[in-house]
Chain length 303, copies 2
């Protein structure tokens, strides 16, 4: 008799399965299913809580610069806090390494983590160091957000304009190890505009916009012509499915879109790529030739 | 030319090394170097933050019951919160697993985690699921403690009585995968007594009491006769060096020791094993035959 394997179910189905019978107390504003958990904290603020695991062979190789690997490990968590509209605060670091690892490599990993922590004013307050054949880094990060600045995946409204920061795709060529999480941009957005929904691009543009649509029960239309595809990828169709861009996708009311484009103070590119629609309209793409096409929001999965 | 390896330096030296140039903001009451970090939070409470990583082959085997492995992963973090005098609240779970893993094993891991969460009223609020050849589980846990109930490793005072809960040693025979973190006992202690220092036994009784002595700049005397050694280990000398007992070592003023022994309401064994001394006196043991012996506080290390 053959039993079911993890990969037969797939990553997202498995996560859905484990989340199903979890009951949460009233202290939890948002649990599993956004970039970070949102927890009751103070009168005017929420606590944010997120974690990311990087495994040698899946997320990086022994040949990767250890400083970049360490920096990425913290930066990918910072990107999650950015996507909620918040500010990162406190972090704990677990690293599994083989005892035979060159001490300079181990030092390099921590140097990269410390660099990202310094850059974003994060306190490194603890961790765990264990023995492991393959290098594994897990970082957990606590952030905060003022109640009025919290942004969830689930708030997209019909007729919202959809924007994306930076360029999309091909991060495997280097950007996935060398990127600046969009904290500055996200904080500008939440302080100056009514952002209805936001997510960071980790599974791929289509998959992550798909998460917003699912959580918000909405449809969307995006324009191939408007999506800023990186030169590091083969073109639109691969770019929008590549993962780990660590850019922000967000939506805001159509009537504020022009003011945003006008006031945007950063060098970071800002592109309006489409519109949120009623759920009945589905998720579709308008090709350069004007033809429309249904989107299957599939991106990177681990299993 | 030969370069230095991680194991040439050793786990504790490496942790010291990475902690050296970390500067912390005034929001941090206690960073690296206790069972959990202590962070500013509310007028009357501190936030506690801790993390633990378990790696297949080092902490458990594929033949271990997955429910027990999952439960241990959360319980070892709960034990850290207990050692600070606090209450566990919110947790994020990262698991690395091979795609070919039997789904029943993966389900079992989460079942164990959920069991511990339910038992201690912890909200499971997020996580990360990644692909990894060996199973890796990392849990990060947020807790709280009333300011007046916080206990650090560094508060031991001369003439404090040293106590330990439960039995020590031999956890490898099963207890390391099946234990109840001492939250109930710790909360009773901090609410009813002036506990000067506390730690949970993860590296071994002598090593962990050694951490208290180092952080408190104190010496200690312990009595071989008084240490409750488990039947699962070969005797005193191995028992006090075995790791992962997840019992509590704590110290309180001598004059309260008798009242504590009188009022202790739990079935959990409570043993007075020695006395905190001036640092000049060092760390020593009185053998069953009355002879005294200097203690080298060495326990389990990963490298």
């Amino acid at each position: 008799m053959e039993f079911m394997k993890l990969k037969d179910l797939g990553e997202f189905k498995f996560i859905e399965r484990i989340g199903k019978d979890i009951r949460l107390s009233s202290r939890v504003i948002k649990g599993i299913g956004d970039d970070a958990a949102v927890l009751k904290y103070k009168k005017d603020k929420f606590l944010l809580f997120t974690t990311d695991m990087l495994v040698e062979g899946a997320h990086f190789y022994r040949s990767s610069r250890p400083e970049s690997v360490g920096e990425k490990a913290l930066s990918s968590n910072i990107s999650d806090i950015a996507a909620m509209g918040g500010t990162p605060k406190f972090s704990v670091i677990s690293i599994g390494m083989p005892g035979g690892l060159d001490l300079r490599y181990a030092d390099g990993l921590y140097r990269g983590i410390k660099r990202a922590a310094r850059m974003f004013g994060i306190d490194l307050v603890g961790g765990d160091t264990v023995s492991s054949e393959k290098i594994v880094i897990n970082i957990a990060l606590i952030g905060e957000v003022e109640k009025e600045n919290l942004v969830l995946r689930s708030g997209a409204k019909e007729n919202d304009a959809i924007f994306v920061t930076g360029c999309i795709g091909g991060s495997i060529k280097g950007k996935h190890l060398n990127f600046t999480p969009r904290i500055k941009e996200a904080r500008f957005l939440v302080k100056n505009f009514k952002i209805n929904s936001m997510i960071d691009v980790s599974d791929g543009l289509l998959a992550d916009l798909g998460h917003i649509l699912q959580e918000s029960s909405k449809g969307a239309m995006i324009l191939e012509n408007s999506v800023p595809i990186s030169k590091a990828t083969k073109g639109f169709d691969s770019g929008v499915r590549d993962g780990e861009d660590f850019e922000l996708i967000f939506t805001l009311p159509e009537r504020h879109a022009a003011r945003l484009e006008d006031k945007w103070p950063f060098k970071t590119r800002l592109s309006r790529i489409g519109t949120i629609l009623n759920k009945r309209r589905g998720f579709y793409l308008i090709r350069k030739n004007g033809k429309s096409e249904r989107v299957e929001p599939i991106g990177f999965t681990h299993f």
